[in-house]
């Protein structure tokens, strides 16, 4: 029993103090999101993932920013301008502040989480636009577990996993807070694969992502993510199953990499 407890403690401490080895401070990844139906690819939006340094009076944090903007041909039909931000520790990628400001075809929503790690809680602000143009706000405080992260920092934490030590079939579970609710995201390492991308032919780790107890991103290896099998672990391709056809996210360019 004592042995198991020690192993558990060791495992927890490895997870908590996992050092950031993959993400640099001025990294910019650009993707093209498209919809694929019977091989006919329709490009929908540009997605970017950027990192930068943010200084406060007492500390320097890493800002992880993800944006999504529809291509101009879609703007008159369904305009998307989404902004997701997470301010994390540059060393351990622990989130402190998360912001989500989305505008999708007239629907506008703002979410903010302040992570209070000492009390394992979150102070959240939700702001939504009503049909008549006015806005309403809701403030909430709720408890989370010690390892819960936001969506953006979870994506970067997946990149920071020591996949080279894993064997195919290994799983890692992440606790993610989204819309004031906690979800369990399961990341399963499937295999190594070499694929052609816009940034060259890359050997990649193929991962399957699923959310437990949710109707989106269900199991059965339908939602896949390919990370380059090098120290940067750049996400180069992602495929998501949707009721008709599937969605794809392909890398267009990658600059400012750490390694």
């Amino acid at each position: 029993m004592r042995y198991y407890l020690l192993l558990l403690l060791l495992f927890v401490s490895v997870i908590i103090n996992a050092q950031n080895t993959a993400i640099g401070t001025n990294e910019k990844l650009t993707f093209s999101a498209s919809y694929n139906m019977s091989g006919l690819l329709t490009e929908l939006a540009q997605v970017t993932m950027e990192t930068s340094e943010v200084k406060t009076s007492t500390s320097t944090l890493l800002k992880l920013k993800c944006t999504a903007a529809t291509y101009s041909k879609w703007d008159s039909f369904f305009k998307i301008r989404d902004l997701y931000e997470s301010y994390v520790s540059p060393k351990t990628l622990t989130p402190y502040l998360y912001k989500r400001d989305i505008s999708e075809g007239g629907y506008e929503k703002f979410m903010q989480y302040k992570f209070k790690h000492k009390t394992n809680s979150i102070e959240s602000i939700k702001r939504k636009k009503r049909g008549d143009g006015s806005t309403w706000e809701e403030k909430k405080k709720f408890n989370i577990s010690a390892t819960t992260k936001d969506l953006v920092s979870t994506i970067y934490n997946i990149r920071n996993l020591d996949i080279h030590k894993a064997t195919p079939g290994d799983n890692q579970v992440f606790k993610v807070v989204f819309d004031n609710e906690e979800f369990l995201i399961n990341v399963k390492y499937l295999s190594k694969e070499t694929i052609n991308t816009s940034i060259g032919k890359k050997e990649c780790y193929k991962l399957a992502i699923s959310i437990k107890n949710s109707s989106v991103l269900k199991g059965n290896n339908d939602n896949l993510l390919w990370l380059t099998a090098d120290a940067n672990k750049i996400p180069v391709l992602a495929k998501f199953k949707i009721p008709v056809g599937n969605g794809e996210l392909k890398i267009v360019s990658a600059t400012g990499l750490k390694n």
Binding site: T42, V54, T56, D101, K114
Partner: protein, 113 residues
């Protein structure tokens, strides 16, 4: 049988025309091919008969228009992001607010470099 094929052909051809003018124009190839197949079968099966062929000709005409529009769009339209000024403004404003919020937060020393 002929009527059925013509109706299917019409539905597919109309769908192809509608899809070809939307940004989802590439998908118009699927109903366009279906319309051509239905139209061709209808023409082939009832070659010698004296029925009016105008409806089948109309199916072909619509399909050709859809295919021309779709092909033109896929060749000449480049994908580019529209106006993102709004988003950039939002980003700058958000970072300024975030720094204020972060000043109030307790950040673990061990987490910092």
């Amino acid at each position: 049988m002929k009527k059925f094929l013509v109706i299917l052909g019409f539905i597919a051809a109309i769908l192809a025309v509608v899809l070809s003018v939307t940004p989802l124009s590439k998908i118009a190839y699927l109903p366009a091919v279906a319309a051509l197949v239905f139209g061709s079968i209808a023409t082939y099966l009832f070659k010698g008969k004296q029925d009016s062929k105008k409806s089948i000709q109309l199916i072909f005409l619509m399909t050709i228009i859809a295919l021309v529009v779709t092909t033109y769009k896929s060749v000449y339209n480049t994908v580019e992001v529209g106006n993102t000024e709004e988003l950039l403004e939002k980003e700058n404003e958000s970072e300024e607010n975030a720094i204020e919020e972060l000043e109030e937060l307790e950040i673990d020393e061990a987490d910092l470099e």
